[in-house]
Amino acid sequence: MKRCQYACGSTEHLASRRNFLGGMAAGGLAVGGAGLGGLLSGNPAMADQLKGKQKRILNIFLHGGVSQLESWDPKPGTDTGGPFRAIPTSVPGMHICELLPHTAKQMHHLSIVRSLDTKNNDHGVGQVEMTTGHKRIPGTEYPHVGAIAAKMLTPAEFSLPGHILIRGAGPGSSGAAYLGPRYSSVTMNDGKPPQFTERPGALSAEADERRNAMRSRFNDRFAGRRRTADTDAYTFSYDQAQDLLAQREVFDVEKESEADLARYGTSEFGKHCLLARRLLEHDVPFIQINHSNYDTHHENFNFHIEQLGEFDQPFATLVDDLHQRGLLQDTLICVMSEFGRTPRINTRYGRDHWGKSWSIVMGGCGIQQGAIIGGTNENGTEVVDRVVDHGHVVHTMLRAVGVDSSGEFDIAGRKYPVADPAKGPIGELLA
């Protein structure tokens, strides 16, 4: 498939056309909205932010709210501790719950934040707040951190999606709000290839090429009448689509070796982790894996044996693989939930929703290794050191991959902070 031959062949070129127009605007030949645009800090230029290799984010979202006491902040032998032991990890002095024996061996790559107080016990609100870093306000939508990452980290000549959601549970897509549809998630339901990456049954690759060639001819003829940055961008999106179809195998985890498939196990989450590795190897800027089902109002302990049993080995394997393959230094890993679970054990051996004192894990690109940030009291009912919330978490994620989280987006003349301007990153967590 050849590209159209005029100079539109890359988004870089489009960007430079637009930049030039922007420059004209600042010089007074107002191409519209210039007054505001000129004064705003605008999008930090991609090139400046991406000195070095492609940065990536992998966010693992444990839906329902994983128990911090059965994972990252165990309190054995207390009234709230439950039946499990704490085990040592590869970081001297750091203990995590015995349900995560494989992960324990990888903790020298990761850090724990044990001091989240997100002041919320609602699933929907927690999901939005943890992944946007903004307090939810009625009638206002903020972009998912994946959309921000896709906007800031996707290179110009990149035809794969910048923001992929590998979905086992949870909402079907992650929105981009004012950043626009380009940055909303492409969803891989149950790890299947994204929608519309398969040609309709009767359409052969040759026929597709043929009809695209016709489309190009129609476009060329129309370009003789009027050509704008918009028409160029539209034409280019079809070239990208063809490139993506040609790389479709990127989405097919079955193309991995038998040995790897075996190492990651047969569980859905295992496949999703291997798929994430495959996508990260292809430099996809943001991937989120949703893993369920942690909403354990009943039988919290049995459920956590099951769920974390599914989580532990593939996750540990993925961290180790990324490290072995040299990908970890440019990949930020984050494991989060919408909230934690109550220290108090209810009458059904369950734990309920708890946003007051819980934990997340981060590691890889831009993050300290083996650190413990903040802490809770003896039986985990309160944060006693370094209270943080979703705002700090999203700032930290973005800063870790080199995005200036205190900057602003300038979208059609309106400005939006990249992250909550009232918050900042957790400085001591950053490498």
Binding site: G35, P181, T228, A412
Partner: protein
Amino acid sequence: MNILPMASPVRSFLACAIFASICSIAAPDRLLADTPPVANEPLHQRIDAAVEHSAIGPMAALCTDADFVRRIYLDLTGVIPSHEQVETFLADDAPDKRARLIDTLIEGPEFARHFAVQLNVLLLDRRTDTTVDQKAWEAYLIDSIARRKPLDQIFQELIDPSGTDDPATPARKFLLNRDAEPHAMTRDVGRMVFGMDMQCAQCHDHPIIDDYYQADYYGLFAFLNRTTKFTDPKSKLIVLSEKAEGEAPFESVFTGEGRETTLPRVPWGATLYDEPTFSAEEAYQVKPDKENAGKPSFSRREALAKRLSENEQFRRNIANRVWALVLGRGLVHPTDFHYAENPPVNPELLALLTDDLAQHKFDLHYAVRQIVLSKTYQRSCEPPAPETLNLADIRSRLDALTQRQEPLIAAADQLKEQVETTKVVWQEALAVNDEVAEQLPPLEEKLAQSRTAAEKATAEHAEAQKAYAALTQRAEPIQTVLTATKAAIEKVADEPALKESLVLLEKRSGELAAEMTTAKAELDKKMEALTAAKKMVETTEAEVATVLAKRITPERLTELELAHLSVVSEAGKADATARLAQAQIELCQSILDYPAIALSDSEKAEVAWEAIVNRWTLQGQVAPLKPLTPEQLAASAMQATGFLARSQTAAQAAVEKTPPKALEAEGITDEEKALVTQIAVQGEMLNQLRGSVNQFVGQFGGLSGEEFQATVNQALFLGNSPTVNNWLAAAGDTLVGRLNATEQPTAIADPLCLAVLSRPATLDEQREIANFLTETVGEEAGKRPAALAELVWAMITSNEFRFNH
């Protein structure tokens, strides 16, 4: 393949430059319109005059009939015309056929649906909620537009739904979609009703926009912060409830200057100085409690609604929004940011539209009709070629503009000074009242005290008087007996009893006389104190009256504020005019610089030329390319492929099967019946299209004012989705089916182009399409539908289809 046949502007310009250097004739390339529009002409002519007045360089020609028919259908009905509609229009020879088609479409049923869809997107930002049924809300919008409800009335109903007859009016969705949260309402009423997004002024004066103050934000907030969402416990109906109290205090997080409170004030409008006050018992018509939504005796939200029509910024925003709905971009852009540094691209045109729309009762049909009748709307999207530039004309224009610039700046500066003067006068009046408000309480306290003191003095005086009177009463009989005893002694001198009595009586009388002297003295003293206290009351009363007399009446304050605002408005216009002159000077300069660039660097020349064409587009000299909205794109793809007719039939059938209840009303006229049915069909049509449209919205976004984005997902969706693929099927009533019934390969291009691109095929296309079919199908007729589907797809995904041109 893909060799670009685009005429090179660079090469053409070289020819032009050579031509100009030979001839150097200064032929005017348009009427040199330094004459402003005339007031009594139809609006569309005045629009054109205003555009020509500020134009620099050539204007694009009027668009072709084929461009026009596609454009007008998309802009007035939200979908491309059917091939029959195109053919009918192109075959019509009448010179007034464009005006007639405009009238037909504006009076037609789809107009209301298309504008309801656009209003829905504008008002709800594509957010869903469950407070008011989406279909009922759409029906409300369609009904409002179909019945030509003035736009100011629609906005009044959105802000104050209780102002309508129907307590359950779907209009309440606008505020309930924001959960009736005061800051969310303030932000979006600011944006959509006044064109001012003051969100950044919530916590401090706007850091970038000098004209947005925290007090502006809280002035609007004060109209809305007494309102909350209320769910009726019985009916579960969600409505708005309002309290009778609650002020709008605010504090800057920057200055730390302490809390201020603002009265309700429309942004860049008058303050509510004369708010009626009620006693606690009379504060409510319906008191808010668990069972009832509150309805205060004076509703601030209603007061806001009532103030819209007369508010200058509301009018300007409405004019700008209507322009943006038709032309794809506001004269002020972004439409949410009216302020000095972001002036309208043509201030004269915006002022003209603002005044004329208000005079025509904010009638959407009138406004849209006039806009689309204008030459400005009907211009071609093809920019004039560089060789049509008349550099001598541009040069003389530049000289004239440069000469005009200084006086314009001086005039603007002078008005800016006047703004300060009138502001001082108004602020001084406010300061007087502040001073009064400060002086009054201690004086009133003093008055109360002196009144208490006077009361006390009166009481004490009365007491003393009473004591004195008592003594007098007691002394009288003793005096009488004393006198009688003395007389008796004179007659009987040696009576010892009398003598003894006399001694006793004289002693007692003496004692009483002494007591009376003391009491009299006390009485006199109390009288003196009473007089002094009364005097003090009088003096203090006079002092209070003097201070009160200084207070300025609400009427006078409003008068001063309005005088100030009118100068602000004038100054804004003068400033915008001066800024426009600057932009025009720079455009002249860019055009004059172009020949040198064209000769030296073709890449730079291409960019420079694009910048010039972009500015011409903004100024209305060239028609814009407008990306189709997701709704337009979905419906147009269905129209092209023959699938829209199916939805239309289904919508008709659904309404026939379940006719609207309103048809059963007693004494309903035939005309009303037809209207009600038509509105129901259009609402049902949205329902029929919802599934497809939602898929397109998911891919293409389409928030109002959003920047164009082309994404790989969109291309994959249009390429591979079952939805689009199904539209390429060959059935009796589909485009592919119809084309498949035409045997001659050379006879395919015309019906194909008419259906998809709303124009006949060119000769090139006829040849190309015939070749494509022959090569692809060969001798295997079975391959023909697939080949035709490829052609239809290639056209639907082309730029010519994606953009409204």
